[in-house]
């Protein structure tokens, strides 16, 4: 059994909804996502450029490929927390992994910005997914149930 189980379930459901809504209007039979309520939901945090977004049911998603990768990674990482509690014993690499994921984002974005290389929707989604996954699993040990006390 996890510690803070209701918090875990609440965040799990919120992240699942985040991913579902980010699929955009195509999931709800709309012809486009911009102007649809799913597009409105992500307007403040995503540029929603058609050229940089995946499509779902032939309709542009409500978020761009990198944001979608981040959200999917957050959900995947959150789902992985119970397994990580059982399997992972060394914890130090987790924060280094998060740091690495942030650095890789910055390098990827900068490389594209300065025309050193051109990334694709898939590469942006994969790197975004890495960041989301790393952010979720960074807190896995806080859900671990064991015999602990506060040090006086």
């Amino acid at each position: 059994m996890l510690k803070h189980v209701w918090l875990y379930i609440g965040v799990l459901l919120s992240l699942a909804l985040l991913v579902i809504f980010s699929l955009g209007g195509g999931l709800w039979g709309a012809e486009k996502s911009i102007g649809h309520w799913t597009g409105n939901l992500f307007w403040g945090i995503c540029h929603q450029m058609p050229q940089r977004s995946f499509t779902f049911n032939e309709v542009q998603m409500a978020v761009n490929s990198r944001c979608f990768g981040v959200f999917l990674g957050l959900l995947a990482g959150w789902i992985a927390i119970p397994a990580m509690i059982r399997l992972v014993h060394r914890k130090k690499w987790i924060l280094w992994f998060l740091f690495l994921a942030v650095i890789v984002q910055i390098i990827d974005y900068s490389g594209n910005l300065f025309h050193i290389w051109e990334n694709t929707n898939v590469s942006r989604a994969v790197l975004g997914g890495m960041l989301g996954f790393a952010a979720s699993i960074a807190v896995f040990d806080l859900f671990k149930t064991d015999n602990k006390i506060f040090e006086p």
Binding site: L7, Q60, A135, L142
Partner: protein, 195 residues
């Protein structure tokens, strides 16, 4: 130490304990977000259309999104420094979510005030400049039309004060909730394992 003592050490905080961290960090980050948005916004307005995808307004979106997502983490840091180093995971989640909500509300208010009091044409100028940049892009006309439609609709939606808050709080709040949890991991007092 038995279970009773552990419970005595755990602290229950009221919202009055949370608000200084949420308010201060939320206000600072919304100000950063607002100023960065204006800086890149006016850069966009005053620049010649280059046809580059990486326009100032696009950079603004990315920077503001990344920076504001860190607010939950810093609000938890502030709480552990100023109120109590001991913090439960759920309390960190509440601080993170509410910090995100505060950022959205204050940013929207500042933007509305700017448009009402300082530059009523700001939104229109941004729209025109962004459309000019898209028109200069090297891509098929249909793709340009799609982007222009998306941009115009996005900016039109930003007109309503309550809609911006209604749609903005859940997502920004959730992202800051996650960084708030990371803040608990990084800054809250650690529990010592005893075997």
């Amino acid at each position: 130490m038995n279970e009773e003592n552990i419970k005595q050490e755990e602290q229950n905080f009221s919202f009055n304990d949370y608000w200084p961290s949420i308010g201060i960090v939320g206000a600072i980050f919304s100000l950063i977000s607002f100023v960065a948005g204006l800086f890149f916004g006016y850069q966009q307005i005053n620049s010649e259309p280059t046809g580059s995808f990486f326009s100032p307004i696009m950079l603004s979106g990315v920077i503001v999104c990344l920076v504001t997502s860190l607010a939950g983490l810093l609000a938890v840091w502030h709480f552990t420094r100023e109120v109590s180093p001991k913090l439960k995971l759920g309390q960190g989640a509440v601080i993170g979510f509410l910090t995100g909500a505060v950022i959205v509300v204050i940013s929207v208010i500042l933007n509305e005030l700017w448009i009402m009091l300082v530059d009523p044409e700001y939104t229109q100028k941004i729209l025109e400049s962004t459309i000019a940049n898209i028109e200069a892009m090297d891509m098929p006309q249909s793709a340009k039309d799609d982007m222009i439609d998306a941009m115009a609709e996005s900016i039109e939606q930003s007109q309503s004060f309550l809609r911006q808050i209604f749609w903005g709080v859940p997502i920004t709040g959730l992202l800051n909730l996650i960084t708030g949890l990371i803040g608990v991991k990084l800054f809250a007092e650690k529990e010592e394992e005893t075997f």
